[in-house]
């Protein structure tokens, strides 16, 4: 047995939730081992146990055949375990170099000495082609480079076991390709890698073996080269999954949303977050907005829907100018909005489901008379939507929104927005954090809206979603809409080039 890591029969419970229920994972030295599972399957919990962030309720961990106790991340570091978290753990106001040495600093007479560290970092960076600028502040460098800083942090501590938690979520296709090469190189050098992901194509591309978790339970470990993607998906979800989105061709009709020259400034009013955006959405088409997180998509949507002021430009819904309208006016003129953050914007978590389903319409005669709410109608309305959209919750219309699962919260929002029969539906990351079943369902609903001649504007970070669902794709880079593409005639690769700014846009024309 030459396993470098063995986690045997790990159990970890939070309250009544069994996050890990008798999970076993065994990683060989020098292999790339994928950990596959949907959101909430227990991948992150398992790795947090290995990294010393949680203590298992039962089960044992063996490193190089020896039983170990990992009480905190420092213990993990000493055992040669390093982890790149999904949300980077970097100090924004420090330089890249300072972040790399943080917690393992060299000192002389109590003073910090960085010379040796700089040498080592530069050496590592050259060896693995991990390009970083050691003296730039974290807040000034790109997300891709921040990730490289995180990787160097592990290497600087001589980690032998590298854990990557969803490392590709923030990267462009080209950056993903680079990262995969780096990971392959690590494996060749004899380091062992655990790759946490729910993206099957990435596993297919780099991993040697793959362990699948579902709802906290261990499902199995397979050789990636001998297993089809469909098989792995089935293990992950527990049933057969269709990857294709059914969509009939349709000719777009009238202009539903017209945005002209829209510019959004940041709070200090010295930076344009959205630069002169101009585009249209027509009836019966789905326009997808692609882009890496933080390139102005959120601000664009907030400006259109009225959640944020903008400095320039105009917006019209079905030919009616709504530039100066309040949020409520926009809803009344036919806007439906599935917001990016369902807990912050989409729901009042302390209200129950029925109350949440009238969030924009409580003041209409259907639900109130002389200022008094008509609770009978409110609950009938909720019951209708619950049945029509199959919203599941512990106590039906009276369940508090907080107690509902993410998928059902999202279903509730979609039910509310669609039931208001909007002309324009803006959906921002409608499937974020949802399991495959819910994603299928939500895509169907969005496509049905298009088939009913509504205009749909969908913002997503998932390129597959953009490619599969959209009829037309816009790409945003640094606040600018840099491309308009036809999903049938473009590739994910081309999309990636636009998303990373290496193709299209004003800054390239000037060069």
């Amino acid at each position: 047995m030459d396993y470098i890591i063995e986690m045997n029969n790990i159990c970890k419970q939070f309250g009544t939730l069994k996050a890990n229920d008798d999970v076993t994972i065994q990683v060989k030295k020098g292999e790339i081992h994928a950990l596959l599972g949907e959101n909430g399957a227990g991948k992150s919990t398992l790795m947090s146990v290995l990294f010393g962030l949680y203590q298992p309720d039962s089960g044992e961990i063996l490193i190089k055949g020896e039983k170990v106790l990992i009480n905190n991340p420092n213990d993990a570091n000493k055992l040669g375990i390093g982890m790149v978290h999904q949300h980077f753990k970097l100090v924004e106001a420090f330089t890249a170099l300072e972040n790399i040495v943080l917690g393992a600093e060299d000192t002389k007479y109590g003073f910090l000495t960085l010379d040796k560290a700089r040498e080592k970092v530069l050496e590592l960076s050259k060896l693995y082609k991990l390009e970083v600028k050691p003296d730039e502040l974290i807040s000034d460098i790109s997300v891709g480079m921040q990730q490289r800083v995180e990787i160097l942090k592990m290497l600087y501590r001589d980690a032998e076991i590298l854990i990557f938690d969803e490392p590709t979520a923030v990267l462009t296709p080209q950056e993903i390709e680079e990262l995969m090469n780096i990971i392959r190189k690590f494996a060749k050098e004899g380091k062992s890698i655990i790759l946490i992901t729910h993206k099957l194509n990435e596993i297919k591309a780099v991993a040697d073996r793959c362990t699948v978790l579902r709802k906290g339970k261990y499902i199995g470990t397979v050789e990636v080269s001998k297993t089809s993607t469909e098989k792995m998906a089935e293990m992950m979800v527990g049933r057969k999954v269709s990857f294709t989105v059914d969509k009939k061709p349709k000719t777009p009709g009238d202009v539903i949303l017209k945005v002209e020259n829209l510019t959004v400034l940041n709070k200090a009013k010295n930076k344009e977050l959205v630069k002169h955006a101009t585009f249209e959405v027509r009836a019966g088409e789905i326009v997808g907005l692609a882009g890496i997180e933080g390139n102005g998509q959120t601000e664009l949507v907030h400006a259109i829907t009225g959640l944020r002021p903008f400095s320039e430009g105009s917006i019209a819904i079905s030919g009616v100018d709504v530039t100066k309208d309040t949020v409520r006016d926009k809803y009344e003129k036919g806007l439906g909005h599935i917001p990016e953050d369902r807990q912050k914007h989409g729901l009042i978590l302390d209200y129950n489901l029925a109350e949440n389903l009238i969030l924009q319409s409580y003041y209409l005669p259907e639900f109130q008379k002389h200022g008094f709410l008509k609770f009978d109608n409110i609950y009938i309305h909720a019951q209708n939507l619950i049945e029509r959209f199959d919203i599941r919750s512990a106590s039906g219309a009276k369940s508090s929104a907080r107690s509902m699962s993410g998928g059902n919260q999202q279903k509730a929002i979609i039910a509310r927005e669609i039931s208001r029969d909007p002309k324009l539906l803006i959906a921002v990351q409608p499937t974020r954090g949802l399991d495959v079943g819910a994603i299928e369902y939500i895509h169907k609903q969005i496509i049905r809206q298009r088939d009913e001649d509504k205009g749909v504007f969908m913002v997503s970070l998932e390129l597959d979603e953009i490619m599969d669902v959209s009829d037309r794709i816009l790409v945003m880079y640094e606040g600018e809409i840099v491309a308009e593409l036809d999903p049938k005639q473009t590739t994910i690769n081309e999309l990636g080039l636009y998303m990373s700014g290496s193709k299209g846009g004003k800054h390239n024309e000037q060069q």
């Binding site: 419970q13 829907t305 009225g306 959640l307 309040t326 949020v327 409520r328 926009k330 809803y331 909005h337 917001p339 912050k344 914007h345 989409g346 729901l347 009042i348 978590l349 302390d350 209200y351 109350e355 969030l359 924009q360 409580y362 003041y363 109130q368 200022g371 008094f372 709410l373």
Partner: protein, 371 residues
């Protein structure tokens, strides 16, 4: 303390449990403090405190209602603002402004009986509303923190009222406001027959009405729906198209009105005067305690206000046993501390109880227990 775990609890019990724990812990600490000061008489004193409010039968109960009136209303004021996401620390200022307005009308205007006190109450309420509206507007329009603004309004109100007393309604003999005319005094509507010898008047009935009205506003109306939504989640309300700025202003005005009403009711009473030297009104700050203990619910404010008044009455009689009535304020403060900690305490208790139970059951069949 008061936790009976095994059966699923009644939702109401679960809700008020933290308050009950807080009260129990507060009383316990009070007892310990009393034992430190005077161990021989501590139990007798403690007992008197608990039942003292019934010492003189219906007279004591009447006084309890009378003393509870202003703090129920200030508690309602703070709790209402809190339900809508705002900290109203300005009940003292709103109350004093309401009180002065009522006294001013009561002393200087000449009107027939029912009209006089009704107008005095209405104007006092309105003045309180204006005193709440100002920080509300500041918050809504330029995001001035309402805690700071309402505290400042407390002092502005206090000094303004001192000045106005001196300028308009001063009784130079004892540097306080003049007696209001008899037409402006609150009637008793026979309550003094039920509670003979007590200071009770219809103030308590008005306070009860206010509790009911606020309860209905919060739970049955579109206004309450909007206000609570804004309090629970401001971003979510903005998304819903609710005018959150207007709601902040409305909410602070209603909170101010309730505190202003408290002031008007309390001072339209023979023998109650605003002085030119007193500080901030204590009832304003009691409102914070009442709201905390009453979980910001209107009904909660009613119960907590009565409780505080009840225990104060008892504390008064503790002087029979060589205890200063200030000990009551120590106990009340402790209760408030515990009610801030109550949720933490609750989880600690529950964990302990669960642990003990698990130990007991561990042996027979572990897996079934944990499922």
């Amino acid at each position: 303390m008061n936790s009976n775990e095994t059966k699923p609890k009644h939702p109401l019990l679960e809700k008020i449990e933290p308050s009950l724990i807080a009260v129990a812990c507060g009383l316990l600490v009070g007892l310990v403090v009393m034992m430190i000061f005077n161990i021989q008489e501590s139990f007798a004193g403690f007992f008197t405190m608990l039942v003292g409010a019934f010492n003189q039968g219906s007279r004591s109960i009447g006084n309890m209602f009378y003393m509870a009136t202003p703090i129920i209303l200030t508690g309602l004021s703070v709790g209402f603002a809190f339900k809508t996401g705002l900290f109203n620390i300005g009940a003292a200022g709103q109350m004093v402004i309401g009180a002065y307005t009522a006294i001013h009308i009561g002393v200087l205007w000449n009107l027939p009986a029912p009209l006089h006190w009704i107008i005095a109450i209405l104007c006092g309420t309105l003045a309180g509303a204006i005193w709440g509206l100002i920080p509300g507007v500041l918050k809504a329009l330029s995001n001035v923190n309402e805690v700071v603004a309402t505290i400042m309004m407390n002092f502005i109100g206090m000094y303004l009222v001192m000045y106005m007393i001196k300028a308009n309604v001063l009784n130079p003999l004892d540097s306080r406001s003049l007696n209001v005319q008899s037409t402006a005094l609150l009637p008793t509507w026979g309550l003094d027959k039920i509670f003979p010898g007590s200071a009770i008047n219809i103030g308590i009935i008005v306070a009860l009405l206010a509790v009911v009205v606020i309860h209905i506003i919060l739970n049955k109306t579109t206004l309450g729906y909007q206000l609570k939504a804004t309090g629970y989640n401001k971003e979510g309300s903005t998304y819903a198209g609710i005018n959150t700025k207007r709601n902040i202003i409305i909410s602070m005005s209603i909170a101010g009105a309730l505190a202003g009403l408290a002031g008007a009711l309390y001072y339209l009473k023979l023998g109650n005067h605003l002085t030119t030297s007193s500080g901030l009104l204590p009832q304003g700050f009691d409102g914070i305690s009442v709201a905390l203990l009453g979980l910001s619910e209107p009904i909660g404010a009613l119960i907590a206000g009565l409780f505080l008044s009840y225990i104060r009455q008892g504390g008064f009689y503790m002087q029979l046993y060589d205890f200063k009535p200030e000990i009551i304020d120590i106990i009340i403060s402790t209760i408030i501390y515990f009610s801030a900690l109550a949720v933490v305490l609750q989880t600690v208790f529950h964990k302990q109880i669960k642990k003990m139970k698990e130990k007991k059951r561990k042996t027979p069949n572990e897996e079934e227990v944990s499922s």
